[in-house]
Symmetry: C2
Subunit: 222 residues, 2 copies
């Protein structure tokens, strides 16, 4: 795909197209590649989404805002956004990476999107990079349901199972390790007869939440 077509999709025209090219270059293709840009882009997307949540939810507390951001700024979401922008066809990959499906790999696509955000920042400054992040996250922010995203994993798991008239999970303490001031708890979560997950945490409750989060992930992805 020609870079000018990608620029149309990005709705941003680079003064220095070499920056866009670098943002699309995987290390398997050579230097300069997107790795350093990704570091900078990650910091920009985290900041801009933090600001969007801060402004959108004036009554949420700091911990809730943090959880919402972690929910929004994750590899899966960045990967989906990269797909929507059609980044895959524009990536520059080494032969081996290309043949093994690198252009569809979530880690590569999400990293390249972060690199593009940094490239826009370096090319045009803060305002266009912020506008770009706001634009690509508009639909995700609109879909965000704080009530759902903010419930803890045990609550979400319980409600998920109740909605499907399935028996509730059982939690069992497996092990307590370490000395009194630095104990580590391991808990098993059993859902029905088939699903068993384990969680570790610095309290029994934290370990239960971790095991429930794992169970919830497995149920939602199966």
């Amino acid at each position: 795909m020609a870079l000018d077509r990608l620029e149309q999709r990005l709705d941003y025209a680079f003064s220095n197209p070499r920056l866009l090219r670098q943002a699309l270059t995987h290390r398997s293709y050579g230097q300069p590649n997107y790795e350093r840009l990704e570091f900078l882009g990650d910091s920009i997307v985290n900041h801009v989404v933090a600001l969007a949540l801060f402004e959108r939810y004036p009554h949420l507390r700091e911990g809730e805002l943090s959880r919402l951001r972690a929910h929004l700024v994750c590899q899966q979401t960045l990967y989906e956004l990269a797909l929507e922008l059609g980044l895959g066809a524009a990536l520059l990959l080494g032969d081996g990476e290309l043949k093994s499906g690198g252009a569809e790999r979530p880690s590569i696509l999400s990293d390249a999107l972060e690199a593009i955000i940094a490239a826009i920042y370096l090319d045009g400054g803060y305002d266009p990079s912020k506008a770009f992040v706001d634009r690509i996250f508009t639909s995700r922010l609109a879909l965000l349901d704080p009530d759902k995203s903010l419930k803890d994993p045990k609550t979400r798991l319980q409600e998920w199972l109740q909605a499907r008239k399935q028996p509730l999970p059982r939690y069992a303490l497996v092990e307590v390790r370490g000395e009194a001031h630095a104990q580590e708890f391991e808990v098993e979560c059993a859902v029905g007869e088939r699903l068993r997950t384990r969680g570790v945490g610095s309290s029994r409750r934290a370990a239960e939440q971790a095991s429930a989060a794992d169970a919830m992930n497995q149920l939602e992805s199966s």
Copy 2:
């Protein structure tokens, strides 16, 4: 301390002084307090320091830049910067918090500094907030020694002990837990006769590094 004296130290004059007041207000004093501002400020300082490192070290890789940033943007550094700016005397704390020494507490001072960064952003926009972060981190960036900060904990521990002509650390595998695809290693690091630390990781090497990092912390803080 009057807010206008603090503004002189910050080298920034607020159009809306209520934002500065909020950034200095601990939750023990009431609403609105700095908690939400801290969330936003954290994202700004992480971004601005990422950019400073990106520009200052054009030859460092992403992982190295990340480690340098983690070294720079931590509670201890923010606490020291808050002390240098004299934030403690300007904090608004509830009676209990005030009596128990809240105005000197590292967590409160570092959080309030992050909140002030957000307050400057909301008051004056990106450029003044970036200029403020760049200014307060100037001395830290000048002191930064990538060679030292980037060495892994085992190497740093070894060099620390060699410099003091002490015997080298010994590492011993304590336990391997979990199934083959998700094993967890626990290693003990023994330094001389007195210091024993343990580290956990997804590989033996990672567990050794964790145990060495803990030993290094204990030696450096003793």
